[in-house]
Symmetry: C2
């Protein structure tokens, strides 16, 4: 097979395994990435991988490390708000390059050094911006996965299976049924329908992401300026 010729039995090591796994996931998706498939890709028997990663879980942890390390380091010349904003958007760019990384990042519970480094420097941006440790703690929680450049979108059409093509008559009938049962959904979808596609298409993902991010950052700033403390919080 082709890949045996392309990769003629270089000695494996952990890094080669992780790099190959990331590239393979980029190409065939995370569901199709199995230890067996990865081994085949490397021209090696499945068990050979287990010398370099303990098991599949550790492989996934390693793949997270590779991708998180791609996120730009903080820009020290910017104020906290611009710095956080830019960095989160850099994380988002990384996720656009590795679409599978989101779900893997979500399912990980192991704190690898690379992930801790990322959190450490992000926390540092808030502290340097005059946030108390108390407020920074809650702000980091509020940021949550947005720190990694993603949020759960309502329906990520691109992540799903391709819809079967629907003929125009059926589409019209479907819309009429929708209009009756889900008038509000149609109403707010129409706002975003810049082009011909009628429902839940053409939302500007970047706009939505920055809208929520800026709403949060503005809220954080307001709390900081008001001298917010969890002890005096109205919701406590």
């Amino acid at each position: 097979m082709a890949h045996v010729l392309v990769a003629p039995r270089l000695r494996l090591n952990r890094d080669r395994v992780l790099q190959a796994a990331v590239q393979l996931a980029d190409r065939i998706g995370i569901d199709a990435l199995s230890m067996r498939r990865l081994a085949e890709e490397l021209g090696v028997v499945p068990m050979a991988l287990y010398k370099h990663v303990a098991n599949k879980d550790e492989l996934l942890d390693g793949m997270v490390d590779v991708t998180v390390a791609e996120i730009d380091p903080p820009d020290r010349d910017l104020d906290w708000k611009a710095a956080v904003r830019l960095r989160v958007l850099s994380a988002r760019q990384m996720l656009l390059r590795h679409p599978w990384a989101r779900s893997v990042l979500e399912s990980r519970t192991r704190e690898t050094p690379t992930v801790l480094d990322y959190m450490e420097s992000t926390i540092g941006m808030f502290l340097a911006g005059g946030f108390s440790a108390d407020l920074t703690h809650h702000v980091m929680h509020a940021l949550g996965s947005r720190m990694w450049g993603f949020t759960q979108e309502l329906f990520d059409a691109s992540a799903g299976p391709d819809r079967p093509p629907v003929d125009t008559a059926a589409q019209v009938a479907q819309l009429q049924a929708m209009a009756e049962r889900y008038p509000h959904i149609l109403q707010i979808s129409a706002v975003a329908a810049h082009d011909d596609s009628v429902v839940a298409r053409g939302c500007d993902d970047r706009f939505e992401f920055e809208f929520a991010l800026d709403l949060l950052l503005d809220g954080f700033e307001r709390l900081r300026d008001a001298g917010w403390s969890s002890a005096a919080s109205p919701t406590a």
Copy 2:
């Protein structure tokens, strides 16, 4: 086996299959839930399930429907903010009952009627509260998965495998290493350390959730009162 005696061959139907799947997932977790295991639970051969759900994906969609239907309907006597708040917290309660539902909800891309109903009525709360369709659209995106009562927490310790118990000497050494490399992480963790456990424990999940939720709701209100429109948005 016990379950054969307990469930002596009632005729299966889609609803019995879904209910059994939800209960089984509550008990053994979503990873352990297989078509084969579920069939065994129902005292039936695996293939018998395929008469009632097309495949595993449809089973998961059905399980989402069952749990989403448990979320309280909107309280019409409350103003929009209190109503949204209460409902999202009700969703959160449902997720505490069915911890597996979060990841399944995240991975679904099919809009089932139950899920659409939930979105429809949530959108309705904002529209009734005087939000424009335009703003409601973006507000729903900003809410994102928080609408379902969850957010990605930084490290969900409870979701991970049990940590091996560490002896005190090793723990002290580990803390010293952390203090050197991750001073900021330690600093904001200390704030939340109410009890003896030292790092990343004892965060009040409900407090964190409401902190971020209220921050967003307040931000939404501010934009509404300012007559926000995406056409005039500074980030556009």
